[in-house]
Amino acid sequence: MTGKQPFRLPTGGRLIDRSKPIGFRFDGRQMQGLAGDTLASALLAGGQMLMGRSFKYHRPRGPLASGVEEPNALVGLGQGGRFEPNQRATTTPLIQGVVATSQNAWPGLTRDVGAINDALWRFLPAGFYYKTFIHPRAAWMRLFEPVIRRAAGLGRAPELPDPDRYEQAYGFADVVVVGGGIAGLNAARAAAQAGGRVIVLEQTGHWGGRTPVDHPDGQAAIDRVVQALRTMSNVTLRRNTMATGLYDHGYLLAREALADHDPNAGLPRQRLWRIRAGRIITATGALERPLAFAGNDVPGVMLAGAVRDYLVDHAVAPGRRIAVVTNNDDAYRTALAALDAGLEVPAILDARPAADGTLPQAARARGIRVETGTGIARVLGRMRVNGLQFCAQQGEGQPLGVIDCDVIAMSGGWSPVVHLWSHCGGKLRWDPATALFAPDPDRPPTGADGEGNVTAVGAAAGDLRVADLTGAVAEDSILPVWIVPANATRKARFKMWLDYQNDVKVSDVELAGREGYRSVEHAKRYTTLGMATDQGKVSNINGLAVLSDTLDQPIAATGTTTFRPPYAPLTLGTIAAEARGPLFQPLRRTPMHRWHEAQGAQWEPVGLWRRPYCYPRGAENRGDAVNREILAVRGGVGTLDASTLGKILVKGPDAGRFLDMIYTNMMSTLPVGKCRYGLICSENGFLVDDGVVARLSDDSWLCHTTTGGAERIHAHMEDWLQCEWWDWQVHTANITEQYAQIAIAGPRARAVLDRLGGMDLTAGTLPFMGWADGLLAGIPVRVYRISFSGELSFELACPAGQGLALWEAIHQAGADFGITPYGTEAMHVMRAEKGFIMIGDETDGTVIPQDLGLNWAISRKKPDYIGKRAQERSFMTSPDRWKLVGLDSIDGRVLPDGAYAVADGTNATGQRNTQGRITSTYHSPTLGRPIAMGLVHRGPDRMGEVLEFAVPGDSFTARIVDPVFYDREGTRANG
């Protein structure tokens, strides 16, 4: 054994490469391992058994396991943006230069202040938090919470953005086999021979599972079947890929580790596979259970199978004198492996009254002391095992003797990994003979066709013996043992750990049972058993067995808690994949986007669109820019990029009749060549969209929607056409993005367009609310004479690809008029000056058009339209509804958006009564004073009244006025 790796065995180690030493740091200490090591095996090789502290008591902890189930050896990995907490040392491949830090310990692993909790264990029983912190409330806020928050939590969250890339991919297969051990590989071969596409997923980097460790000719058997599978073209073998969850209809998520071993290769670190599987075969093996004896969490107490793994896989000796405690034959393999490695095995303590199977006989033949009917009374040592007292299993723990050892390899039997089976509804059955929950083949998860779509095989099905492997050794039965010794004292039960990570002990679960927690789900939450990052992989069965004993009922009656995905934690980057940074959302850009960008536009998100909010110049702030843009339009001419407005073409013999149903007003009577403002309601009567409709021809209309409304309204139209009036002859097409649309507004608008040449846009030829096709600046356009600003205004639609050219031509033509691009905020202010409503400001899903004084846009002649019946409901016709009014600020301050007008008295919950609220509020540069609109109780009947609007720490008063603040006669737009 070398100096740097004192616990590395001189020979063996099937996964390591002795020619490739790897340096790394643990808690600042430079250490060395070998290629093929995990972080845990390298730490053990260096003699570092202490790897972390527990959550509640800060107990010193070493590794319990060798794989994904590890509850103790959690470390923070990496630095800076690559820092990742709670990484299992047992599944972390050792890479050159990796920096690992222990968690939950301050100032250091060996001297940890938080361990004071450990001395206070009597005062921290199950449910401690619930019981203690309910009263008094003030103490919770000031005293308990800050202290607990500081001490709580496993690991710490990374503070920098994750620099790694992640991706996702979709997979399809007839059969997905989860688990690359002997059972999975054999099942994959059978499935592949039957035809169809087969994917095999193995969570580790190696094929074979436990077989190469546990069976003398195991590796050869694995190699043979892997070789056979590699020759089959319909088989995909994927290692380092963990199936994390199974969902409806055979939807399987799996995480492939791509570059964990080489973070600087520039590859995606991980890939999340979203696989649709016809059938899933779970060959996920089994996990070993600890035994509950006093001191079973002292570093050096490990699962027997894990001890064997470290010996065989990595040629690492967790210790030099390995005592074994078991209730089954399998742990004897660990004793034999330890002897093979040249280590001492001072004793095997077997809870069973007799142990005469093949493996126990082999152990005795090699001179190992086997004590049947015994268990552990007490572990000696605190930071590290240095011995044990053993006792009769059937007793209270009278010591029979002391055994010197530095590792205790324990086995309480094995539990099939049933997570995937259970995620989607597969049921389990308890087998008392083998003392395990196994998938019940009669009650599998089912797929879209109602048939079972998951099959469990091998150890995952409860067949721990790998019956189809030649040379497998027969084993005698397990003795279900949940507490060692059977009648342990109360004091000893306080030292028997069930959930290592959350510090849940036998005494806690028994307390929960005594306090009436009969449901395993409730007991779980009360004790926190199984709620840590390991999700109880090693603790669940022992915990519910102890609960069953306390409740004096069979284990099957207690049942298990719910298995929920993911099987092991997924890093958030894997779930987000490409959706980060500039690709976080599919931002929608108009044809003129880059022009706006070049002009320094500030953006307003409208749905996924980005629209210019305003175009600040020089040192202007946003408010200045908005005011300048408004005055430029009112006094000259400005342009707005209106391309985002929805454009839906509706065509067909029944199109007019259809639009009469969609809109509250009459569209069938609109003459060709004319436009009409229309309102769309939901069947619930509420106003959901508005816009201008143009009649293009005898049988076709173009419906404009709000920016956010195009897809929604198109879907709404298609819904009614397809599902209600399917015999009506109507086609719709959402052609929003075919066109760029430019609003050109202001007294000089016509003059600018005249300079472009090509169309007669005089009022006589193109009156207000008319439209015409033609050419402007050589570009085909449709010109709508409509106005949302209240000024003389045209909206020009042209093919999107020519939108920028038209925009630039307009700006060139209008340069000497001071033509000014204006953004959405200027548009909002100008429409508010005119008293025009805005969907989303004046509406919120509870407002009907009648509330907004829009009765003129609601046909009384039509027998029906969507929302009409709803608007006839008594509440909708009540005179007590809040209705639209203008609001004039008394003291000249801009009113606070969304503020409520208070009324006398209080409501049932003691809040001030309200009588209205502000829906739009701005400073009007046109009028040089604030303007606002709001919905007020009987508002239009209360002109001139003054309302008080309360906001925290302030109060505003405003007079109810007409909502049209500017150009009430509408002469400007008619210019």
């Binding site: 979709y170 590859l267 490409e578 599919p586 850009r589 086609h731 097409a733 993005e737």
Partner: protein, 184 residues
């Protein structure tokens, strides 16, 4: 050593004409075929010849893609041919963005973004689906499909114009060198 070229060579196709056709395809199929210059495709298939492409988009909807120079005449021919039908013919040439994916493994790029199995799509198959967060349609321009038979394929993907930058971004990301989906 892994092949460190991108999975696909991505080029944007511009200058195409596109026509949306909505009609009763059974009644008007012959008229459409004659005006479009291509047979009407079966459900979820396309027909193509000499730079023209006609795809089945919905039970009463086709999309014609053709060289931009042919647009005006074909638009007029279709409008004329369907004048007596309840039909909608609309120029949508400016409404979409189009990318072609050639190179080593273009289907793998699509397999990262779309919940479909590109290899299972027939040679004349058209699939409307989504690419990450946006609606798209995809089909093969070259190659015949089948599993493990992707060499030399060229795929075309079409989405809305406003998300062109997003689509270009996710395609380039998914095609990044070294990100082959083959098991390693």
């Amino acid at each position: 050593m892994a092949d460190m070229r991108p999975l696909a060579v991505i080029t944007e196709a511009t200058g195409l004409g596109m026509v949306l056709i909505r009609a009763d395809l059974a009644r008007a199929g012959d008229a459409i075929a004659e005006a479009a210059g291509l047979p009407v495709p079966d459900v979820t298939r396309f027909t193509a010849d000499a730079g023209r492409w006609l795809g089945w988009m919905a039970p009463d909807e086709l999309l014609l893609v053709l060289p931009g120079a042919d647009l005006t005449a074909t638009l007029a021919a279709l409008t004329d041919a369907l004048a007596t039908e309840h039909a909608l013919v609309q120029d949508v040439s400016d409404m979409r963005c189009v990318f072609d994916l050639a190179g080593r493994k273009p289907a793998q790029v699509l397999a990262k973004l779309c919940p479909v199995d590109p290899n299972a799509l027939p040679a004349d198959g058209l699939r409307r689906t989504r690419a990450a967060q946006v609606a798209c349609a995809l089909w093969r321009r070259e190659g015949s499909g089948g599993h493990g038979n992707a060499a030399g394929e060229v795929w075309r993907i079409v989405a809305f114009r406003s998300v062109r930058d997003y689509l270009a971004g996710i395609l380039a990301t998914a095609a990044a060198p070294g990100t082959d989906l083959d098991p390693r």
